[in-house]
């Protein structure tokens, strides 16, 4: 149960090896020991993350999760819930893809949509069902400002995030009064393994800063947050920029 002061007893990380997911677990573990379920593909990185979180005081469980496998969301969520209620689930999996390749490779584009959108919808639906039954819980969905106004530089990625963002926002509205809530997180450019080697964008942030914002957002009962907070106003400006100008912006 998330207690009266917003402290958390159990955390599920779907896409549990993502830098933001790991940072969020560390951030919670800094407050108190808790149960952490790492749902990810069976890779050395997963074992390393599990070890690392154990060392930080977590009671860590691992379950298999593969966004390419349509049966995986149901299995992973069921396995995670078998060990007890899930207080907070962080949906953190996703790929950036190679924008250049995605421009022309239909299979690659469809695959990105499968991972970032289709699988995210399935995971969200499974989590919501499970949490509705348990009568409480918080789903944290890692969206991106890239989905708020999709840019020509990475429109395939942006469109998948736009879809998942819309799905989780709507899911949150549909859960009002059920004891379950959804927090949609829209980070700007995050310096992480996903963006390694890419040049910094303005208002770049870190997984740790995103984790900090997530914990505060859950505690404060927020529904949507931007990281850094100033991104909200930047995006609000961009959303209302006329298309003719937007197209010519240098990104």
């Amino acid at each position: 149960m998330i207690d009266a002061l917003g402290s958390v007893g159990s955390l599920l990380l779907v896409g549990g090896t993502s830098d933001i997911a790991v940072a969020t677990a560390h951030r919670y573990l800094r407050e108190r020991p808790l149960r952490v379920v790492v749902a990810a593909r069976d890779t050395p990185r997963r074992s390393a993350v599990a070890e690392e979180l154990r060392a930080a005081g977590g009671r860590v469980e691992v379950v298999d999760f593969d966004a390419d496998d349509p049966g995986s969301p149901a299995r992973a969520v069921a396995e995670a819930a078998a060990g007890g209620d899930i207080d907070v689930a962080v949906v953190a999996f996703g790929q950036l893809g190679d924008a250049e390749q995605l421009r022309t490779d239909a299979a690659a584009a469809a695959h990105l949509a499968q991972v970032n959108y289709v699988a995210a919808v399935a995971v969200g639906t499974e989590l919501a069902g499970r949490m509705r039954t348990q009568g409480h819980g918080e789903i944290v969905a890692l969206s991106s400002v890239a989905g708020e106004r999709v840019r020509k530089a990475n429109y395939v990625y942006g469109s998948t995030k736009a879809g998942m963002d819309a799905f989780y926002s709507g899911l949150g509205d549909s859960l009002a009064g059920s004891g379950v809530s959804v927090l949609v997180v829209r980070p700007g450019f995050v310096r992480s393994k996903m963006t390694e080697g890419m040049p910094d964008a303005p208002l770049a942030t870190t997984p740790e800063a995103v984790a900090e914002a997530i914990v505060a957002g859950v505690r404060g009962g927020r529904h949507t947050i931007w990281v850094p907070g100033a991104m909200r106003w930047v995006m609000s400006g961009l959303r209302h920029t006329p298309r003719a100008i937007f197209r010519r912006l240098p990104f």
Partner: protein, 454 residues
């Protein structure tokens, strides 16, 4: 009775109004109703709920069933000579007083509000201002009928299945549903209390006064100003008393010595400043209240309501803390660890968290209740509105309390760390053993139970 399977889900909270969760709330009018809900349970289980005066999530069960026990409130038997009453568990102490004070029987133990049920009083093993002489509520229960997970009704008491009795007393509803109880009431000659008041300038003088002379009184409690710092830290007003004999009443009262009305005329200065709750207003409130109290007063006659339940006159005062709700932090430290109490109070007043008057009370002997809160020593209770940074402060205070061999109260706590609670309640293992025996599937469960892995 409504079909428990289709009962509507409602959002429930405790008195502190934090952490609401939905559950199917079913009104229980008698044992059959409770058994029917048990039969229709889902994997999310069942828990009983009384008047929801516990501050936390004890009477909540997210996604499962909650039994509203307040409809089962009949008196089943009265033995005036023995001073015993047999009642359904949903009856409130308010009703017991209205019915029995005129007959010369008072409840054996009353908390700071009379709007609690007998079931809740046993389940939290509540204490009152007389703990140092009378112990807890459960110590005045001859037996109780408990509906357990297997659908059986078991009569348990200190002398029949004492293990199950002492797991149920203080067991927060997790051993089953208390249906009925036989209670030994307290004979009184009048409905007035003879009260002595002493104002003390600091914590040390308060504690030595209480340690030295509490045994001369049946009832004792001190109200402490938690905002005052430095030399005035712990300045307080100590009120102590006992029920008046008939011949101590004013002549006009002697004609009807047991006259009782639950209503209280409010005497708290200025009541509460709604919407204005901040450190400055709280400090001002505490200042006025301290100054207004007499330095020393003897043999003042007070009504039951004014002496025991001053807050009951203020309606839904739990709303003054605003939409985020509030937390009551109540802990006990054993005798001999007074320095821990002093350090805790220092830490609290330094934190600057606004709190109305806090209450200090001396406990007498503990009892065999496995999760019963009191142990011989000192207990402090204070309300704190939910603000950021509070979790860390209370975790810090927990460390201090555990270090001194103390504990926090399960009827109030909404946030202790499960592993810290294990240290606070060394008999938690024995409690779990009893639960495994009578409820192997864990049918009875609550938000509190899940949060703390009880």
């Amino acid at each position: 009775m409504a079909d428990p399977r289709t009962a509507e889900e409602v959002l429930l909270t405790g008195w502190g109004r934090t952490a609401p969760t939905p559950a199917r709330l079913v009104a229980v009018h008698g044992p059959e109703d409770a058994a029917a809900v048990l039969a229709a349970r889902t994997p999310r289980g069942v828990v009983a709920r009384g008047l929801a005066r516990s501050y936390n999530d004890a009477a909540q069960n997210a996604g499962g069933h909650v039994l509203d026990m307040t409809a089962a409130d009949r008196v089943l038997d009265v033995d005036l000579a023995a001073g015993e009453v047999e009642v359904e568990a949903g009856i409130s102490l308010d009703r017991l007083m209205n019915l029995f004070v005129p007959m010369g029987l008072f409840v054996p133990v009353t908390p700071g509000t009379r709007y609690v049920t007998v079931g809740g009083a046993v389940a939290a093993d509540i204490h009152g201002k007389n703990h140092h002489v009378a112990g807890t509520f459960s110590e005045h229960v001859a037996w109780l009928d408990l509906l357990t997970a297997d659908g059986e009704v078991r009569r348990v008491g200190p002398d029949r299945d004492p293990e199950l009795f002492w797991a149920t007393a203080g067991g927060m509803g997790l051993t089953g549903v208390i249906l009925r109880a036989r209670i030994r009431m307290k004979p009184v000659e009048s409905s007035r209390i003879v009260v002595d008041t002493d104002r003390t300038p600091d914590l040390d003088s308060l504690m030595s006064l209480m340690a030295g002379t509490d045994h001369l009184y049946d009832y004792s409690v001190a109200w402490i100003d938690c905002v005052a710092r430095g030399a005035r830290m712990g300045r307080s007003v100590l009120t102590r008393g006992r029920f008046a004999r008939r011949d101590e009443l004013a002549p006009e009262q002697q004609a009807d010595p047991l006259r009782y009305s639950g209503r209280v005329r409010l005497s708290a200065p200025g009541v509460f400043p709604p919407g204005l709750l901040n450190p400055a207003t709280v400090a001002a409130f505490n200042e006025v209240w301290y100054r207004k109290s007499p330095r020393r007063k003897r043999d003042q006659l007070q009504t039951i309501g004014a002496f025991f339940h001053p807050l009951d006159g203020v309606g839904s005062w739990n709303r003054v803390y605003g939409p985020r709700g509030f937390v009551q932090y109540q802990f006990v430290v054993p005798d001999g660890r007074e320095e821990a109490m002093r350090r805790a109070l220092e830490r609290i007043s330094r934190s600057g968290h606004a709190s109305f008057l806090a209450v200090l009370k001396r406990f007498g002997e503990g009892n065999p209740g496995m999760l019963s809160f009191p142990l011989p020593g000192w207990t402090l209770a204070l309300d704190i509105p939910v603000v950021s940074g509070l979790a860390a402060l209370l975790d810090e205070l927990d460390e201090l309390v555990v270090g001194a061999g103390g504990r926090v109260y399960l009827a109030k706590d909404p946030r202790v760390r499960p592993e810290v609670l294990e240290q606070m309640y060394p008999r938690l293992g024995a409690f779990r053993d009893v639960r495994r025996r009578v409820d192997p599937e864990g049918v009875f469960t609550s938000d509190l139970a899940r949060r703390l892995s009880l």
